[in-house]
């Protein structure tokens, strides 16, 4: 492994920015975030980076590494070609704040527009429910989400078409799926998914699934079943036929 590497980091703010090169010593086992920290501590103390757990569990250090949306704490230098400068950019689908930090607050506002969990009455007088492991597991997959928003970052509806006001993106479709498929939930979000959250904008290119650090099968397990529910409720040909008759 190389003993030093160069990182070409985007430095700027909402008004604009440029790439700057920083060279730093590297060692076996290091991840990209380690290198960024080293540069920050030794060369540019005001380099802006957002991070927390450094263990792939909190989803704070999302960025684009050589053009690929990734968690900086889980990307090992040994998996990157260090012969060339490593390009580090903030996520593109959200407004820049400074350097590698973006304003992801839209995700939190958009989440509030999804109707919250509404359980059925408890199964027993002591206020408890019974659920089978198999039913729970289906939803547990979605609840692995660490809200890193990398799926939102690659979604072309958000990234290219900037439909943030109309479309909630893959992360929040996964959230909606977790609620809709929750064994205890009684709320109906299907109409909202069609009209308010425009699930129809998703044309299942699976980019979101490919970048998910938790390997959630976003498109197949979450979005497509939700699309089917929308179709069942609104576009059932038999129902339409009865309607006409």
């Amino acid at each position: 492994m190389a003993t030093q590497a160069t990182f070409r980091i985007w430095r700027g703010d909402p008004a604009g920015g440029t790439f700057q090169d920083y060279t730093t010593p590297v060692e076996e086992g290091m991840v990209v975030l380690d290198a960024v920290h080293r540069i920050q501590a030794q060369q540019v103390t005001d380099l802006a980076v957002r991070w927390n757990c450094k263990a792939g569990k909190c989803g704070s250090c999302s960025a684009e590494i050589n053009g690929m949306p990734k968690l900086m704490c889980m990307t090992r230098l040994s998996d990157i070609n260090l012969e060339m400068p490593v390009i580090l950019e903030p996520m593109h689908a959200f407004p820049p704040i400074r350097d590698l930090v973006t304003d992801v607050s839209w995700n939190f506002r958009a989440k509030k527009t999804i109707k919250q969990f509404q359980p059925r009455s408890p199964d027993f007088p002591d206020g408890t429910w019974r659920m089978q492991q198999a039913d729970v597991e289906r939803v547990q997959e979605f609840r692995k989400c660490i809200e890193c928003f990398l799926c939102q970052d690659v979604c072309h509806v958000l990234r290219e078409h900037h439909k943030h006001d109309e479309f909630i993106g893959p992360r929040l479709l996964v959230y909606a799926a977790a609620l809709e498929m929750h064994p205890l939930d009684t709320e109906d979000r299907v109409s909202d998914l069609r009209r308010r959250h425009n699930i129809g904008y998703c044309n299942i290119t699976t980019c979101c699934r490919q970048v998910c650090p938790e390997s959630i099968t976003i498109t197949e397990n979450a979005i497509i079943p939700l699309k089917e529910r929308v179709v069942d409720q609104f576009f059932d040909p038999l129902k339409q036929l009865f309607h006409i008759l």
């Binding site: 086992g29 802006a48 704040i97 992801v104 408890t128």
Partner: protein, 604 residues
């Protein structure tokens, strides 16, 4: 003169991990206007890192369990320095708090008959930890977050709190700045809940995220609140040791709960060699019995790998020091061996410990279903913190409450795994309720404008020094290095005296800290504030550890290697004196009521 953006609430919650969110939800439910201020984005707090589970005597898996057994286990684990009232309330209220999480959407793993499944953990007599694979903390924080955002609470994300403001002896608000723009804010309120977590970043090898710089403890200390049990820092026995850049990342106790065993370089299960008398009765005699225990045999006793964390950490330390460690200075933790007992063991391990599988695969290129892991102790948890009333969670400062890791009392000298997540919800709920009550029965507060301005001015002086000042990151590294070396797992008078000298020098460097760049999302600035807080808690840890001349729970003194009955009667309390010196004293533990004593006797 610096400008402030002004906010006003009935209850201000500082910190948005499990305890903070639970407090905010409870306060909001009473109709109080609630503000939450947190250091990170919502849902990123350190609670996400909790893996093993949440301890509650639901008795779903073993019907012999009850609050009485849980209480006795917690007191035994804490070596009887616990605030017994908190241990009692915790054991009684934890089951209800777990069911509450389920009612808000949490999806725990299930038993065959569809109830919440519970797993074994160190120091718990019966399977007691409700869990979701090995990502229970994430499930919990997401549940609280998704429920909380619909309760009307106002969340101020990514803010640094600089100071608490006082009004005639009670807390009146807090001031700080938002990271994004560096604008100053003042949050006026009638009651404050501090839920800022622990101090793990005072040490070099730590499982804690960057947020854990003892902010709440330092904020409370500076306005005269008492801190307690600061000598008790828990070193988790199993953190990653290799590669070096991931050193300290937690390897859940769940690995051992599922049958993982510890071996030294000679292949010996060294934990069988040293079983403390307090636990002899409850520990397996043979490897075979230990295995049966992990697989739910009610007649078997637990393997010694599941003894309390302080003990396991010291045994690992001993093996490494004796030259029987693994290549990178740890010992071996092996779960792959269970293939001897379980067919399709690879699938089984991946299902039971998905995050661990993922973590080692991705960060260390190691398949835990096939090879043993290398593990060693890592700074994990602060038993000490803000001294609070057991029922209300109010500190010694009127209107100032604390909950979760920031508060002291529940865990005494050592915390049992799984008791932290239950701590968050039980005492978060109580703190929120009593803070809202306090706000209702006490009038509005007045902000001390002068203090506000001087705090802001002080916060900006490092910018004036610029690059000629001390580098804040370097001060933090130096502090972490020394705390690790001199006030770590094994402590002596000499080394801790040295540490105090070094801390005194570091205080001077902190006064000269310099920051470059501007106020917008400047990590250097944030670190400068954090490190000032770390200094206070590091000094408190060292002074308390020096005063306690015995070994008990998480504190191991090489110069006083045994437990001293006399010391078992006291907590150590730290407080700022009138002339800003750190005062330290022994405080007698309140006598335990007869009925609780009887419970402990009965469970012996």
């Amino acid at each position: 003169m610096p400008e402030f953006q002004r906010f006003s609430y009935d209850v201000l919650v500082i910190g948005a991990g499990g305890a903070g969110l639970r407090a905010a939800i409870e306060a909001a439910a009473t109709g109080a206007k609630v503000g939450v201020v947190c250091k990170s984005l919502l849902g990123k707090a350190h609670t996400v890192m909790a893996e093993g589970g949440i301890a509650a005597a639901l008795a779903n898996v073993d019907d012999r369990d009850s609050w009485r057994v849980h209480f006795a286990d917690t007191m035994r684990g804490g070596q009887y320095l616990n605030n017994w009232r908190m241990a009692e309330l915790h054991a009684k209220e934890a089951p209800e708090c777990v069911r509450e999480l389920e009612a808000w959407g949490a999806l725990f793993d299930r038993t065959k008959d569809g109830k919440i499944l519970q797993r074994n953990f160190g120091g718990h007599r019966y399977p007691r930890l409700a869990h979701v694979g090995d990502r229970t903390g994430l499930e919990m924080i997401r549940t609280l977050q998704d429920h909380g955002i619909h309760t009307g609470m106002e969340v101020n994300m990514e803010c640094t709190v600089l100071s608490l403001l006082m009004d005639s002896g009670r807390v009146a608000g807090a001031c700080g700045y938002d990271r994004e723009r560096g604008r100053f804010h003042v949050w006026q309120e009638k009651a404050v809940v501090l839920a800022t977590g622990g101090i793990g970043r005072a040490f070099k090898v730590t499982s804690n995220s960057w947020e854990y710089t003892g902010d709440g403890l330092a904020l409370a200390y500076r306005v005269g609140a008492e801190l307690q049990d600061m000598e008790f820092v828990q070193f988790h026995p199993t953190g990653m040791v290799w590669p070096i850049s991931v050193r300290g990342i937690l390897v859940t106790e769940g690995v051992r709960g599922e049958g993982g065993v510890l071996r030294n370089s000679e292949g010996r299960r060294f934990m069988f060699d040293d079983i403390p008398d307090l636990y002899k009765e409850q520990t397996a005699d043979t490897e075979e019995e230990g295995w049966r225990y992990t697989q739910g045999d009610k007649n078997a006793r637990r393997p010694p790998e599941l003894l309390t964390r302080d003990h396991v950490a010291r045994c690992i330390n001993r093996e490494v020091k004796a030259g029987r460690g693994s290549p990178h200075g740890g010992v071996f933790l092996d779960i792959s061996w269970i293939k001897q007992h379980i067919s399709k063991s690879e699938e089984h391990i991946k299902r039971k410990l998905p995050s661990m599988y993922h973590q080692f695969k991705q960060l260390a290129d190691l398949d835990i279903t096939k090879e043993p892991m290398e593990v060693g102790p890592t700074t994990h948890y602060m038993m000490g913190g803000i001294r609070v009333d057991g029922d209300s969670q109010m500190s010694t400062v009127p209107g100032l409450f604390a909950a979760g890791e920031a508060a002291a009392g529940l865990h005494g000298a050592n915390r049992l795994g799984g008791n932290s997540l239950s701590d968050l919800v039980v005492f978060g709920r109580r703190a929120g309720r009593y803070a809202a009550e306090f706000a209702k029965s006490n009038g509005a507060t007045v902000i001390d404008e002068q203090h506000l301005q001087s705090t802001a001015n002080d916060a900006l002086t490092p910018f004036e020094r610029g690059p000629t000042g001390e580098n804040p990151y370097q001060i933090q590294y130096d502090l972490q290095d020394k705390m690790q070396d001199l006030v770590g797992i094994v402590r002596t008078e000499n080394e801790m005296q040295q540490a105090l000298d070094i801390i005194a020098q570091l205080y001077k460097r902190v006064e000269r800290v310099g920051i470059t760049g501007n106020r917008e999302y400047n990590n250097g600035w944030h670190t400068a504030v954090d490190v000032a807080n770390l200094m206070i808690v590091s000094e408190a840890v060292t002074r308390a550890a020096l005063l306690r001349k015995e070994s008990r729970g998480a504190q191991f003194r090489e110069d006083f290697p045994t437990k001293d009955t006399e010391w078992g009667k006291y907590n150590i309390v730290v407080k700022q004196s009138q002339d800003d010196e750190m005062q330290i004293e022994q405080r007698a533990i309140a006598p335990m009521p007869e009925e609780l004593k009887a419970v402990i006797e009965e469970m012996k």
